[in-house]
Symmetry: C2
DNA sequence: GTCAACATGGAATGTTCGTTCTAAATGTGG
DNA sequence: CCACATTTAGAACGAACATTCCATGTTGAC
């Protein structure tokens, strides 16, 4: 009975435990910090491993794990492990898995239903890919370029036109001056002839690339108009004439792509630009 | 050495195991079927429980679990359990969780980056909601209505315009006759006056509803043109004049919505329609 | 420099685990 | 109804487990 143990109640879920670990991080002894770091970095290991195997991976003694758990109010290591296991149980199953369960339990899916599910799954994948491939610094730079432009010229044809048209709509609502290029044939080049270095352009083009879009973007770049672009491949002709460019690989279902991820990207960019303008205006009023 | 054991290799992943269990379901003895059912219904229990605890839940003896595992080529219960655990490990973590890890490890996210992540997360949520809310039978019905239409009239204004414009593009590629209503003011009503009962319309409208879209849809419905619609609320004026209608609740980030889920829906509908036409044409050539 | 308080490593311990084994039960073909 | 094969239940066993305990190491105050 030497230890005047603080009998605090142990965290009941993973989030609470995580918060508690983070909070007490600094006041913990060296080995316990080591365990803390390992636990938060390798939660799956904690969930599945045995005290001995985890101890070996984390390069501590099994007894250290027990002491760590006790520090946070658990009876022993097992109690702490329960939290890590519960976390995995509660985690909703992946979309594909839910799909399969659906097919399994009910009647076999009709063709339309499986096409529908295919597109939803593809959209999920696209969003994951988007999140993984977009560099935060590049995004920030793109926002800066476009936020300080007087007029934002939106260049898009064919498959990418819906993206720009939505951006044009949103920019209108957000009181950001923009011009949608690609609406009616003929007036496009006249419109673009107004663009100067104080403006900027956002070009979207997916394979098969509309050569017109690439040509317009190149012409603008030559005249000193900064160009930001969104495309689906590193080999896009747009990439070479752009200050900043992004690659978004839309997953396809049966050869057809939806624009789900591109839409999310476009809206994020649009709102970021408007938000940056708002803040800049606040800082330097006039 | 009495048992002339079939030394088949055990399944290496959960899917293979599942398939093997389903395949051999009928030839297994009673208690093993009992285990099989329990295992597929409560995979998480198998992953985390002990042989004893699982045996109690499944109302069999622990030894039965071992025999079950051996039936499928594993050395013992533990080998089988590994498969159930691997399944949980491989399951990618939820997007929100990955986000938090990102914020935690690196520097605090810039405003643009967090807006970006917010839209990606919102898009994921929207897709989940979409998958949950769209009724397979209704979708099938919508496909049927639109597939047998001579011309598909696409009605959309403002925020929903990008959806229809992409559908129009895709229909063009798929050789499905469609007309996009909402391009230039004035000619819309002239265009719609051609529509008859042998055609169909697909209307998209989100709040705040463009009264023009609702009016056009109602006019078509009165003239016997079947209308299918996509909207974001049960109270949409479109719903009442539509044969079939769908509700897609796009999650928003800071009050702004991207059209990610709607886009996925639109493409699924578009491709389903084209596919149905292709099959109908094959069955009744002429 | 000394001592107390705390942290750590590693062996010891009692428990629980998965597995094996055997006898009883159940089903099957003649 | 019997002989036989298969399936099952439950006890027995050895290995692996989480935990405890204590000697040793480390730190910081005085």
């Amino acid at each position: 009975m030497a230890v005047n143990a603080e009998k605090i109640a142990p965290p009941q879920d993973f989030e609470a435990l995580r918060a508690a670990i983070l909070e007490r991080r600094r006041e913990l002894p060296k080995r316990l910090v080591q365990v803390a770091a390992y636990a938060l970095d390798n939660p799956d290991e904690i969930a599945f491993g045995t005290a001995a195997s985890i101890a070996e991976s984390a390069e501590v003694q099994p007894s250290t794990l027990v002491r760590f758990a006790q520090q946070f109010g658990f009876d022993g290591f097992s109690g702490l492990q329960q939290i890590f296991r519960a976390r995995l149980k509660e985690r909703t199953s992946s979309y594909e898995e839910r799909l399969r369960t659906l097919e399994q339990n009910g009647a076999p899916l009709s063709e339309s239903a499986s096409i529908f599910n295919g597109f939803v799954a593809a959209a999920h994948r696209s969003l994951d890919a988007l999140a993984g491939s977009v560099n935060a610094a590049a995004f920030e730079q793109a926002v800066e370029i476009l936020a300080k432009a007087e007029t934002i010229y939106l260049i898009a044809k064919r498959r990418s036109y819906p993206i720009s048209s939505y951006m044009a709509y949103a920019f209108g609502k957000l009181k950001v001056k923009s011009a949608l290029v690609g609406t009616s044939a003929g007036i496009d080049d006249d419109l673009l002839s107004f663009a100067g270095p104080r403006d900027a352009a956002f070009a979207v083009s997916f394979s098969p690339y509309a050569s017109e879009s690439a040509g317009q973007a190149r012409a603008l770049a030559l005249r000193g108009v900064p160009v930001v672009s969104l495309t689906d491949s590193v080999f896009s002709p747009l990439a070479e004439c752009s200050r900043v460019w992004f690659e978004v690989a839309e997953a396809d279902h049966a050869g057809f792509r939806s624009l789900s991820a591109s839409m999310a990207f476009a809206m994020a960019l649009t709102v970021s630009i408007a938000e940056k303008r708002r803040r800049d205006a606040q800082e330097r009023p006039g």
